[in-house]
Symmetry: C2
Subunit: 155 residues, 2 copies
DNA sequence: ACTGATATGTCAGCCTTGTTGACTTATTTT
DNA sequence: AAAATAAGTCAACAAGGCTGACATATCAGT
């Protein structure tokens, strides 16, 4: 017979069993990003540059609108870092052949080298964390992460 | 007979098998934080407030130095958000009984309610992502995340 | 051919949250 | 009594989000 508060329902800690998972995810992601941050700070780039380069490398030739959609940021935010990546010679732009308004983005050789070096410590961390896991367990983990992005937790 | 470049070793994409994992982790964490962000923006707080409240709730009575260590930020950064949380009545401070220089932090009733409401959508997302998993698989996932924070990927 | 929609780029300013450096106060330790 | 420690504070700066407004090029439909 609890009365819910106007803004928030009355809850007790026992309602949530996943606090361990939440905490683990926080620390895991923190260490994960720190790997690349150490390299980035040496070359005057930040995480935003890393993400852009990562996805341009993952899907060479993707257009700006697609990249915006993947990153979930505004074009003004993207412009700032994309411009620097282009000027520094890590990304090339090319007008679309069908639609010449579109800008297709490609990593340069230097861009590919940089993103690989940024990914390497992250890769090593993941590989080590998977070390004791079987192939089936790897699928379990990937499936969990995949599900995490698909779920809509409203209600 | 590749010559490594002075700054970065020469690599090809085939050297990294964990790009899928990296991408999945990025999207999973993005959605995970977005859950709470939607609530936070309604009450004028940000992620920094969330993290502080989360850990104060997880370990009631922890001192400022411990919190700084957990969060991995400077005391000036913490001060800004901690002050707001105290003034808004979500966290209480108490001088230590042994060492009265120390400030022990406790969530208030309102603080406990808020963090539970922030954690709820995240919990639901995780619970749903684990839905098809067995208990053993849950352990696999938690173990993976735990390993992720322990590994030192240098070399 | 004109007109409106679309893709991108840009300027300006704001906010949050991280940083460094310098300094204060209270308290404990030596 | 002096030094070390825990915490708090002020100021300034940087990264990377955001909004709003507007410019340019190109495409698509009538």
């Amino acid at each position: 017979m609890k009365q819910p508060s106007p803004k928030f329902a009355a809850l007790s800690a026992s309602d949530i069993e996943e606090l361990d998972h939440i905490e683990l995810l926080f620390f895991a992601y923190k260490e994960f990003t720190a790997d690349a941050d150490r390299i980035l700070e040496g070359i005057g780039f930040g995480r935003a540059h890393h993400r852009v380069l990562f996805f341009v490398n993952r899907k060479p030739g993707l257009i700006v609108a697609e990249l915006l959609d993947i990153l979930g940021i505004t074009k003004q935010s993207l412009a700032r870092v994309l411009k620097q990546l282009i000027e520094a010679g890590y990304i090339d732009q090319e007008a679309g052949s069908h639609d010449r308004r579109q800008r297709h983005l490609y990593p340069t050789k230097a861009g590919r080298e940089l993103i690989l070096n940024l990914s390497l410590p992250q890769s090593r961390r993941i590989k080590a964390a998977l070390k004791q896991s079987s192939k089936a367990q790897d699928e379990t983990i990937k499936n969990f992460l995949r599900q995490m992005t698909d779920i809509v937790p409203d209600r």
